[in-house]
């Protein structure tokens, strides 16, 4: 009965054992890129920029170890972005004369590729929901990967394009509604792909990609109807180092909430189908309610944690820019409301052990609160976040 202890797998490998040679290679690559970047451009950086570089490199390396697909993804995105920047040189006009930039590699072309790919991903995932084979869903995942990569590259190249338009305008492309919508689509897709990979539940994509497709639709409307993609200088209040960390952190939160809401929808479908058509193929293909509930919790947890950080960062920025860390500006107030919404959700789950359709509905309503906080406040309520005034 007794087996040699060495054959058992309870010994937890130490962190060094868990990291494979390729992980070290990735780490070395990130480190090398950061060092070269600092060696080449260090004289142009202040201490905040240097801090940002260290933070970005550290996070990329950690993310690569934590979630291996990030390694290849980040390498490809970085290579494409650098290629685009290199093709531009110092002439913005090459965006329309150079073949690669015009059709693939510029910020604008990248956004178009992202949009197309994410639409395709949505369609194939939905197909996968009704198909017997796993193939459409796998194809959907591939489209989602390419789409988010194109979006990420678009943001990187756009960053350069802003400086090429006018060096004095330079800002990070997470500063207006158009840019953050790209960020939202990229971030949500990547977060979803992570959950898909970790749980192996591909049918969730049919639901999650719907909300991403909706945001892409808004993005396209905003671009075609309002020419939102045109690069304009920033208002002084937004010209701050805080922008670089406040906004992306916020969008991890929004992304998590969006995923949770769509899983809530999936949960309700599953819940209903289990009673009305227990033998249907779609009922069987959907993940179990427990699995959906588990991922929904994880998405809300990560979203809530990052949203809390983002709100605190926002308060610190507000203290610097507006003269008070909390001034009950509509955006701040709605952030608080959103925070309370999910804080209550978590309390109900933790302390009362609530599960089931009520929590799913709660997560769905949460997405409406999220959308209002993100968009509605800027559209319907005046305040410091509307940037209409100094």
């Amino acid at each position: 009965m007794s087996v040699p202890q060495e054959a058992l797998d309870f010994e937890r490998p130490s962190i060094l054992q868990r990291i494979r040679p390729l992980d070290w290679a990735y780490f070395a690559l990130v480190l090398a890129v950061a060092v070269i970047a600092h060696w080449q451009y260090g004289h142009l950086m202040d201490r905040y920029d240097t801090g940002g570089l260290i933070l970005a490199a550290g996070m990329s390396a950690w993310l690569g170890w934590f979630w291996r697909p990030w390694q290849l993804f980040s390498i490809i995105v970085a290579a494409l972005s650098l290629f685009g920047v290199w093709l531009y040189g110092d002439d913005l006009a090459r965006g329309s004369t150079n073949f690669w930039l015009n059709y693939v590699g510029s910020g604008q072309a990248g956004v178009m590729w992202m949009s197309v790919m994410l639409y395709m991903a949505t369609a194939t995932y939905i197909l996968g929901l009704f198909s017997k084979s796993d193939f459409p869903s796998r194809l959907g995942a591939a489209f989602a990967w390419i789409g988010s990569g194109a979006g990420m590259m678009a943001l990187m190249v756009r960053w350069r394009e802003i400086y090429l338009t006018d060096p004095s305008w330079g800002y990070i492309p997470v500063s207006n509604l158009y840019e953050v919508f790209i960020l939202l689509a990229v971030m949500t897709t990547l977060m979803y792909l992570y959950y898909e990979q970790r749980t192996g539940q591909r049918t969730m994509g049919a639901f999650v990609m719907l909300v991403i497709a909706a945001s892409v639709t808004f993005l396209l409307w905003y671009m075609w109807d309002r020419q939102a993609h045109e690069i304009e200088p920033l208002v002084p209040a937004l010209n701050s180092w805080w922008m670089k960390i406040h906004v992306p952190t916020n969008f991890v939160g929004y992304g998590g909430f969006a995923i949770a809401a769509m899983l809530g929808v999936a949960y309700l479908f599953k819940h209903r189908f289990e009673r009305t058509r227990p033998d249907a193929a779609i009922t069987k293909r959907l993940p179990s309610k427990e699995a959906l509930d588990g991922v929904m919790y994880k998405a809300i947890a990560i979203g809530f944690a990052f949203f809390t950080i983002a709100t605190v960062l926002g308060a610190m920025w507000a203290a610097e820019a507006w003269g008070g860390y909390w001034t009950w500006d509509p955006k701040e107030t709605w952030s608080l409301i959103l925070w309370l919404t999910y804080a209550s959700w978590l309390h109900m789950r933790f302390t009362k052990g609530w599960r089931g359709p009520v929590m799913a509905w709660w997560a769905i309503i949460g997405l409406f609160v999220t959308t209002f906080t993100f968009l509605g406040v800027n559209m319907f309520l005046s305040g410091l976040h509307s940037y209409g005034e100094l």
Partner: protein
Amino acid sequence: MSNNEQVAGSAPAATARSKSTRAPRRSRILVEFMGSMNLAITLLVALAIASVIGTVLVQNEPYTEYLIDYGPFWHEIFAGMGLYQVYSATWFLLIVTFLVLSTSFCVYRQSPGILKDLRRYNLQVKEKSLRSFHSSATGELDQPQEEFVDHARRVLKAQGFKAREKESDGQTVIAAMKGRWNRLGYLLTHVGIVVICVGALVDGQTLLKLNEWLGNIEIETRSVPVSEVPESAWVPVSNPSFRGMVEIPEGSSADVVFLPMREGYFVQQLPFRIELEEFRIERFSTGAESSFESDLVIHDPERDEPLRHTISVNHPLIYKGYAIYQASFADGGTKLDIEAIPLGAEALRSLDVPGRVFQEQEVPTPQGDTRTIEFIDFRDENVVPLLNEEGQRENRHLGPAFDFRLMDRTGHGLYYRNYMRPALQEGAMYFLSGVRESPGDEFHYLFLPADADDSLDRFRTYLAMLHNADVRNSIAREVAAEDPSGAAIAQTTAELMRLFAEGGYGAVHAEIDRRVPEEQREQVGELLMRVLHAGLQALYMEVLEDEGVVSIQEEEQRWLEDAVSAINAISMYESPFFFHLTDFEHREASGLQIARAPGESTVYTGSVMLIIGIFLMFYVSYQRLWIIARRREEGEGTHVTMAGTSNRHKVEFENRFAHLKRWIIDQKPANGSDDGHRESTNKND
């Protein structure tokens, strides 16, 4: 935030503490109620609803605007409920206070148990109670007891558990736990919230409101100079926390800041004086502002030398705990040199009107009346997004402009915005003057055509001549000279020109309607218009001749059309003058927000506690495990009972427990693959 999640982590014996059989005392009931989840959720919902009200109903507007928006009835009710300042209303502060109390009570109630849990392994468990756990397992092993305990110990250690053992009556009890930082997360989040709220209450208007309530201070509602504000509305330097605004014109200084409160304000005394040397707006090439900067000089009696510092948006000055922010800007009383050009017969005889923004000036009209001009604002750069000829949005620099209101003796009048320099519009240059009835309306523009020198000279000459009866008559005679029925036509022409000069096309049409029977009106009207235009054209020829212009090009013809449109519009302009800005001495004012927030670091400390707490709660899994091993009753070997709990997701822990059971009892690999590693290493997903 009563928390069963905590209970889930304890053995049944430990939960007994909450089921006291003693009769509840009153204080105990209070603690139970204040710390209850239901109260907390109710307060959270109330806070959320109140917050929504505060965003829907625009806060801190002047009371007169609310009165207009909601009418006297609702205004009274809204004002009484404090809905115009929800976030500083007493009832709102009460909700926050109760939330703080509720959270505090919850922490007070839970923390002894948590702290005890952290240290207590609970070695008193019985086999029977272990078997009642949701996750429990038993096994019969051939292994001797010591060998098994040794094995279990190794597995637990490798899996990151801390364990305690007890041996009695030949049975070994192992109690193990892991991830107890999770429990600290609970404390950190909730204490963090309390700390944040306490810091915020310190920085809020609590003290100010308390002093007002005690009658120490009284708000001032009139807008009067600081020197006339009564002593009762002054807040002394000792006030530890406030946030207010002060506007300082260039070259001036201030040692007070105004704290808005309901329909009025308090005056906060500062221990130093702030002087504004210069205010600047830096611009991008598009004309959009890139930076707002103020050069400040701090005069502090405690300093030997004044402190010079430039602040800008996102870069405040923190001086002695007072944070000075660049918040806004305004005109600081720009000096304006204005030429009042009469829009009539006297057009060539202008008046010089000296002006200063925020001041008033009386202007005598050529008709012997008096108007009062009130200078409201001045801007030296006006960038307006306009559509260009290709229909694309384009930022246009229209240069300096000033805003004013022109009032008659009764105090009625319209609002105007006049631009100093002519602007290019569809290929020609015009002097622009916007007019509107109230500051909220859109401007309607008067376009006065500029001449070749970009001046108004030609227009003034033309206007003066048109208003001159002798000129009109001679021009009319000239026009009619070629016609057989000359005299009658000349008279009609002169009369039409007079009507047009005085009342535009409106007056002309009214006269036609009055004189001509309806059935002939169209035909005759058309004829008379042609006569009028011939007269206006002939007058223009005269003007051009005086100027020495011989050949008439397209642009000259266009000028006449523009001039005629402008004269037609003058009748609706309701000002006897065109106020032309000739020169100015720009003086700006910087709006500074000055705050003292001693609670800021407290709030940040609470925030950090909250964030750390959240991560501990979400990403550290708290697990407890008990193993009881005893000699088998029959034969050699060991009887093992094992149970565990966690506050994490049920399904996850079931998997986890299954793994532990495979390792400890079955003594087999969990999966035969590296999945076991994945499960135990990737806890962060």
